[in-house]
Symmetry: C2
Subunit: 450 residues, 2 copies
């Protein structure tokens, strides 16, 4: 079992590997049978593909259904293929709809259809209905089992109902009050019900606010709502306002982690974590971004090419120009990162964007002034050429200020154009800061020095 920091118990891992190599399924099951399914799933990360296959085959029908809900996204396809559609379907039928959907939605279409076909009728229809909602929407995240009671009941009735219906979800945090048409009217934390006398009307325990989520809401917006109001669960409604499911905060934790990860990775041209993806697909997936980068780098090189004659006359320019570009690129990246993140968290909107733009420009000017001094002294010491030193320092000031503007401007413009600022900003910012840096440094140097 792994500790809190994700370090796995090496002894267990070695023994497990030995058992897998020997091919004795019983020993494998004995080794990991007592582990929490989350720990079993975590072990998969440390095994080679053929060992993973052996492990899954050894588990076979002894598999805890919960195991499936803990498997890393990148490994789901592989594990599902090893288990086969029948076994997967049997296990998924035991899970809540949201966990079943999460496992199914990233599988290849073929395998997904085979598994769905193998599900029992009730679960199949629930899964199919959830899959009708677009990916990354509330309809896919919700579980279809929840507790909804008429709003004219009292606590005693609620408790008796709950005691007599063993088919209700194992675990729930809020009880929803609904109208005769099954529209949600309010929510009550379970602990409030437990603490109130049997004769207390449920209506009296209703929370002041009810945050209802449309099934078509994007999951990022759902996460924002949960975070903003500190929600634990919220009802999901279909077209006519009928409650059809519930989203709980534990699903939100995953969304926040995944969305933050996406933003983090996208900024550098990695579409999603490809740690466990096969080599060839990893390489292919990263190529488009490298191609875009090549195009961007050529643009910057074209700017340099305009000043070929100047470099020919003063080679020192070729030594110093990457420094200007690097500084501007870094300043632009700082500003861009804050801005992309601010847009993602909703802290920057159209209404306060101008304020941040002005502020970042001022920050760029301030830091540019510092590096005007630092850079001038540096070149003076290095090359002992005062005019060049001043040109270099001045270029730094101009480049850092403009870079700040670019760093805010690019994500905001992309957001306005409905493009994803996280994915495209980095390459635009780098290209623009490179081009401007080369242009201003080589241009002014040509005018002043040559």
């Amino acid at each position: 079992m792994a500790d809190d920091r994700g370090n796995v118990d090496t002894e267990l891992l070695d023994e497990l590997r030995q058992a897998l190599a020997d091919g004795t399924a019983e020993r494998v099951r004995y080794r990991i049978g007592a582990l929490h399914p989350a720990d079993q799933a975590e072990l998969l990360r440390f095994l080679e593909p053929h060992e993973r296959r052996a492990l899954v085959e050894a588990l076979g029908t002894a598999l805890d259904p919960e195991f499936l809900s803990y498997i890393d996204e990148e490994l789901r396809q592989e594990i599902a293929a090893s288990l086969g559609p029948e076994l997967v379907a049997t296990a998924l039928a035991e899970l809540e709809t949201d966990d079943a959907i999460a496992f199914l939605e990233d599988l290849d279409d073929d395998l997904q259809l085979q598994i769905i076909a193998a599900l029992p009728a009730t679960e199949r229809s629930e899964v199919e209905r959830s899959l009708q909602y677009p990916e990354d929407t509330a309809g896919r995240m919700m579980q279809r089992a929840f507790v909804a009671l008429p709003d004219y009941w009292v606590v005693g009735q609620a408790i008796d109902y709950l005691r007599n219906h063993p088919d209700l979800p194992d675990d729930f945090y809020d009880i929803f009050l609904v109208s005769a048409r099954f529209e949600p009217l309010g929510s009550i934390p379970v602990s409030m019900v437990l603490r109130s006398g049997r004769t207390t009307p449920l209506r009296q325990l209703r929370q002041r606010e009810l945050h209802v989520i449309d099934a078509r809401t994007d999951r990022e917006d759902v996460a924002r709502l949960f975070r903003k109001y500190g929600l634990v669960s919220a009802p999901v409604i279909a077209e006519r306002g009928r409650i059809i499911g519930v989203i709980t905060v534990d699903d939100i934790v995953d969304v926040i982690e995944e969305e933050a990860e996406e933003d983090f990775l996208k900024l550098h041209g990695v579409s999603e974590s490809d740690l466990f993806r096969p080599l060839r697909r990893t390489a292919l997936r990263r190529q488009p971004w490298l191609l875009v980068n090549l195009g961007a780098a050529i643009m910057a090189a074209l700017v340099i090419a305009q000043f070929e004659g100047s470099i020919d006359q003063l080679v020192t320019l070729a030594i110093l120009m990457p420094i200007v570009a690097s500084m501007a690129g870094n300043a632009g990246a700082q500003t861009m990162t804050v801005c992309v993140r601010g847009i993602a968290t909703g802290e920057i909107t159209a209404q306060n964007a101008l304020r941040f733009f002005r502020k970042e420009l001022a920050v760029g000017l301030a830091n540019g002034s510092t590096f005007l001094v630092v850079g001038t002294i540096m070149v003076m010491v290095w090359f002992g050429y005062p005019e060049l030193a001043v040109v270099f320092g001045g270029a730094l000031l101009a480049a850092l200020s403009v870079a700040a503007g670019i760093g805010v401007g690019v994500p905001l413009i992309l957001e306005r154009l409905k493009a994803d600022p996280a994915i495209a900003s980095a390459v635009f910012v780098t290209t623009l800061t490179d081009m401007f840096s080369f242009f201003v440094f080589l241009g002014v140097a040509t005018l002043v020095l040559l």
Copy 2:
């Protein structure tokens, strides 16, 4: 009130600003009094500093204590100063310990002490005890109000106890069973208690697993534990195993968001979101990173300086060298991002690191080979100089392969040295890929072409 996407109601905002400008506190209170405290706090983002001050003064004692728990981290100091220690203390006394601590811990020492001194005795001692735990540990995150019952009770006893103790926390998700020494023995979801008959022994409802958190555990590890096992709440224990508080999943949501944000921002030399930080402090905070970057850029420039003579003979080298560096930098950043993220999520550990290293090297070689072809053709078309084209293509292959190795190696080495891979990796990776790119391209060009 802002919608799900963080866009604020412009009309409300305009009216509020008008009321703030007029200085009529009643109108301000009327405008925003009916809003959810989370929405009130959100409005602060859209106001200028003097408007924020006017708003807070207008709210005065009419302030909903919950308001404080929703204020953006960067604005807490400012708002606390406007409100004054007395008002803040009165409001904080109404909040759970974890929310009070979250508000207090980032304030300047002076103000923090004044507020703590103004707290009622019980709350003051609770806050002081929590503050004794280091920042970012479980001891700071937990709330001190929880429900712990003897493990020999039955459901009926539990319900009666809960009904007769109105001083218990408003909202809780698990009941903890404790020994006579107050050591946690198990947990029961509240919904299970509600669904069981009065004579059911609590022991029988106990969950299979109990995840206990030491008060000194780092919050990142706490978040990982919650995520891994899908926990909703977990008991926090002090030195001798006594339960002293509880951490709930809503606090985890904030931790995950904040930690992901930190990783995201740190990678580009922004220590934390400085959206709302004053101009001068923002500029100063970003300078150290720019200075480090300057040092790094000089290192790369020194490599170029070694080949001054070569560039003097063939200026085209100065045009092409930034392209090689840019491609290698990009490939290195892709690999580094995946690796930094993998380390942060615990997916990469010492035990499987070598596997990722080999894989990334192979990815680098694969993409390097592609760009060997692409780059050679490009330079051939651009400059019509076959030898230069081959040198350029070869340099791309070498640079992309080595960059992949650097991208994995740097974060892993930093992690091994107990440095934070997220903060320092970017600058090391860029510097190393730049230096290698310039060296291999200019070096081979000098040998082959000149």
